[in-house]
Symmetry: C2
Subunit: 248 residues, 2 copies
């Protein structure tokens, strides 16, 4: 078996944020596998087959990638952002662990990318400049009670918090509850950032006090970052800068 | 005032992880400011002045960058990794907030980079594949009691944990205590990753159970990642893969 699976991060959308090593992996791939909008970011060329699939079939897609590699392909699995943060790397390893023993001999690598929370933080200033936590608010794969427990403990620890998948159209109530829990647990008007379509031409940033945040400010293309108690706002003629000092 | 300050991340060391937008900012800079080993990564050229300074002078360096921009320079402040994660972005905003009001009219941007924890996670598999927290273990700028409180709450929340600056030569006792707290709070043999000099030719990865971790396994060039209770190890002919499933 000489095939390989390389799981790469395309960053949050801006092509100037794609690392050279990821570009190189794509240039050498025989097959690219991923969710439709991410595969659409890869230019077609001779010798490359694009395999786009729908959302929520991550394990099938991972198995397919491993099978093609076992047959000798140089397979690249694309994620947006970083593949190791709520993205395809864990799914590929779940499929690897559950799959045929022979797959473990494959050359499997993960190439990091600019994850959405760091692009959102950079666009707004440096709200993750001190200790923070990163939580996937989707309750597709874990119970809501665990999410709520983590939110309360994170507030007690006074972490800044970054939320992925804050609000889906099918289950909007989770983010309503998130804002309630945060208002109770933080008990102040600390700033919250809604960063939509970060790094793309559609980017919109909104910074409001937690007390004024509404569920409609987030959708599935929005990264949400809540400051710690030390997070500060600087007003400038160019807009607000949100940052957490180094001593927080 | 037409000058600018662009705070960029050079990634963890591998030049193939530097994003094109960061390369572009460096190509257009009149001045590059930063800690000696990071400035050493920027190629000298005509029209560019390199200003390398020692560690622990982050505020002086930030003020210098803002002053040069106020005088019309296109100043780039370099950090390793991502500038917004325990790096120069917060220091620049601290200096901006405390400085002359006129500085607020400057064009100040942050360009994200591949931060060490994501490069380390990618090199080992996907240990940060589900909810996690990120803690700076240096007690230079915050009391040790706060670090210990965050460690205990993070363990209770069952976050995977990424630690920056785990162990300095001058204060090695902090990491000794960190391992004691984690053994108490986690109460099991969950895996811990020591990733030294990640992405460079000197890279060394070590994965051991928490019960067998020793303080000497870390130094200031080491990223430490502790799994959640759900983090798993896959044994392969090419080495261990460490990952956290998507449902953790």
């Amino acid at each position: 078996m000489t095939g390989s699976v390389t799981i790469v991060g395309l960053g949050p959308g801006n092509e100037a944020m794609v690392t050279p090593e990821v570009r190189d992996a794509l240039a050498q791939a025989t097959d690219v596998v991923g969710y439709i909008p991410y595969v659409a970011r890869v230019a077609p060329r001779e010798g490359l087959t694009l395999h786009a699939s729908d959302n929520r079939v991550e394990i099938d897609r991972s198995r397919h990638a491993l099978e093609m590699a076992a047959a000798g392909g140089r397979v690249v699995v694309v994620s947006s952002g970083d593949p190791g943060v709520f993205a395809m790397a864990s799914a590929v390893f779940e499929a690897l662990e559950a799959g045929p023993r022979g797959w473990r001999g494959l050359d499997i690598r993960v190439l990091p990318g600019i994850t959405a929370m760091l692009a959102a933080a950079a666009a707004a200033g440096a709200p993750l400049g001190h200790d923070f936590c990163t939580i996937n608010l989707s309750d597709n794969l874990k119970p809501w009670a665990l999410i709520e427990k983590r939110l309360r403990l994170a507030a007690e620890a006074d972490f800044a918090m970054a939320f992925y998948n804050p609000r889906s159209a099918s289950r909007p109530e989770g983010f309503v509850r998130t804002l309630e829990v945060l208002r109770e647990a933080c008990g102040d008007a600390r700033p919250i950032l809604f960063a939509r379509a970060v790094s793309t031409p559609d980017q919109v940033l909104k910074i409001v006090p937690l007390t004024e945040a509404t569920p409609e400010m987030a959708d599935m293309r929005t990264m949400v970052i809540v400051g710690s108690s030390a997070t500060r706002i600087i007003e400038t003629p160019r807009g607000l800068i949100l940052y957490t000092p180094r001593s927080a």
